[in-house]
Assembly symmetry: C2
Homo-oligomer: 355 residues x 2
């Protein structure tokens, strides 16, 4: 395991993305967001995506310089066409648009189509916090999850994030997949030769399985990632219901598709909803309600086996504090593949992370 | 078990509520919604609530004729003060307001405060379907659910409903509590002397329990309903996270409170969000996406132990078709208590259900 500072990784990533064709602005935004995910401990959405994005540019899925265009617009709604630019760049601008609209109209809804992987959702939902707004964002993508009672992957992991401002306490930042688990965790267990818990996946025979290999068609990852089984929805019919809602809002409403027809693993349909708190109740009053709720929850007696009650967003903030000081650990294999990709573009990766 | 038609029950309920002080309009709306819940098979939100509502009027929680007043308003938002009128009457008008605002502005958000129990959420969310809108509605109430890792009831069961229009297929109608189960189901198991599944409740010692009695302080229900343990959130941290979001939107944003301070079991804070589909994509295109998704899901191969894959809302629609013909079953004990309440108001319940 190697350890780098966030500045080192941002520098490396920015240079590599620019070499692969991104503008400086694009490269800086994408790199910052990837490294932010690492800082928060969400390594699945971190710098390991870099080689995937470079590959996406090469294969024509990601089009650097992709224009941000508004297709339909009212005072409080917009549908954005990302023209297959970097998801992070498009989604950041769409969030800014949603915030401007909510500032003027109290509430807004913005959809995005023709957009690549936007990464960690809470990067966007938390943008609304300083404006005194509550934000909901949801994403659909290619299928990986079986419907409740099914065994074929038809729904996407349909993640969603909510950000809710607090006063003196930290904000509530929810960010989860509506599937029992992200596919990356099954792949991680496979690579370590571990079993997975009951309830994560169903195999091609329609049986719940604790063998991570049963999710995939041979040749197994990392050779290829093709599902033969499916991930299961979180909490049975409740996660399944939420996945259908996300598919409808982020897939059908935007035109990204929601019927197992989303073609590329890079394509994200996005739905954003923002509400300005002051239009309902004074912001201070809202924040003190949230502070009191957080304190009531955190100081309440614990169930057997728990040493602490955490608020959504708290574990990530702690990890951020830790990694900001101690650095970001990167597995040797990821590092190797980043260095190789650098080499293909005539870059010396090692010199790009010189302190 | 007695069996009545919906017309019989609506007539009985309307007369009883009017005798207890409701206007005819209020009595008709509340009675229709209660019986609709019975028709859909959701008996916990059906006619058995009638004696509870009459009791609420007597104790001054429910104020018949409670004025519907808009406290804050923009083109696309409103905060409604229900003045403690019937929740059903207030929420119906608030939904109509939300639909009008979304019709003009593409999206709307409406909150309600000082509002009594509104009943089954999908009654309201489905109002938006015929207008070509997607609706989200969520409610907070008095505490019953422990935070993830906790053992004290601090959060409400925080139910939410989504309604999504389809084309030739039936609409997707999601309606669930973010707790593992509704308190009514634990009470039902207690009254039948049954155990409950692991994961529903935590007892006062903070241990998961399969004994429904361990949720309550003695004297046990129906003598009183006071919790010593707590319901558990659905799917661990995911249901817990959603409950915090519902508390924030329906409790903090409206002013109903969200920190275990909601005083009366009747008080519901309500948050409604409506988005008009045509502002994003042609309605027909949206509906055919949803139709294709529904068909893909329903025709997909089934997991072991399942004979069918259902869409949220489908089981309720089937029950409705069945009970519309066969009638609504009412347990003897509920019937007795309704007849007794009728008697207190000089009404002959039996004659009110004469065919």
């Amino acid at each position: 395991m190697l350890v780098f500072s966030s500045a080192q990784l941002v520098n490396l990533s920015t240079n590599l993305l620019m070499a692969a064709g991104a503008t400086r602005e694009e490269a800086e935004i994408v790199s910052r967001y990837l490294v932010n995910a690492n800082l928060a401990g969400v390594d699945s959405h971190g710098i390991l995506r870099l080689t995937e994005y470079v590959d996406g540019i090469r294969r024509g899925f990601i089009k650097p310089g992709g224009k941000f265009a508004v297709l339909n617009e009212t005072n409080s709604t917009a549908l954005v066409d990302g023209h297959w630019g970097f998801g992070q760049v498009i989604c950041r601008r769409a969030m800014q648009l949603a915030i401007r609209k909510a500032e003027r109209n109290g509430v807004s809804a913005v959809g995005i189509v023709n957009c690549n992987h936007i990464g960690r959702l809470s990067e966007y939902s938390t943008m609304a916090l300083e404006h005194g707004m509550v934000c909901f964002i949801a994403v659909n993508a290619d299928p990986g999850v079986a419907p409740y009672g099914g065994k074929r992957a038809i729904l996407s992991t349909s993640p969603m994030s909510y950000a809710i401002p607090a006063g003196e306490e930290g904000p509530i930042v929810v960010d989860f997949a509506t599937s029992a688990v992200a596919e990356g965790k099954v792949r991680a267990a496979l690579s370590k030769g571990q079993r997975i818990p009951e309830g994560w996946i169903v195999n091609s025979a329609g049986r719940s399985s604790t063998d991570p290999a049963e999710l995939y068609e041979p040749p197994l990852p990392p050779k290829q990632i093709k599902l033969s089984g499916a991930l299961l929805p979180a909490g049975g019919h409740k996660g399944y219901s939420l996945a259908l809602v996300v598919e409808a809002l982020a897939g059908a409403l935007t035109g990204n598709g929601c019927d197992g027809e989303v073609k590329s693993g890079f394509a994200n349909g996005v739905f954003i909803f923002v509400v300005k708190i002051e239009n309902f109740t004074p912001l201070d009053s809202f924040k003190s309600h949230i502070d009191r709720m957080i304190r009531a929850v955190k100081s309440s007696p614990r169930a057997e086996g728990f040493t602490e009650i955490l608020i959504p967003g708290e574990p990530e903030r702690r990890e951020e504090t830790k990694r900001s000081k101690a650095g970001i650990p990167i597995p040797e294999s990821s590092w190797e593949s980043i260095l190789n990709t650098c080499k293909e573009y005539g870059l010396d990766g090692i010199s790009l992370v010189k302190p």
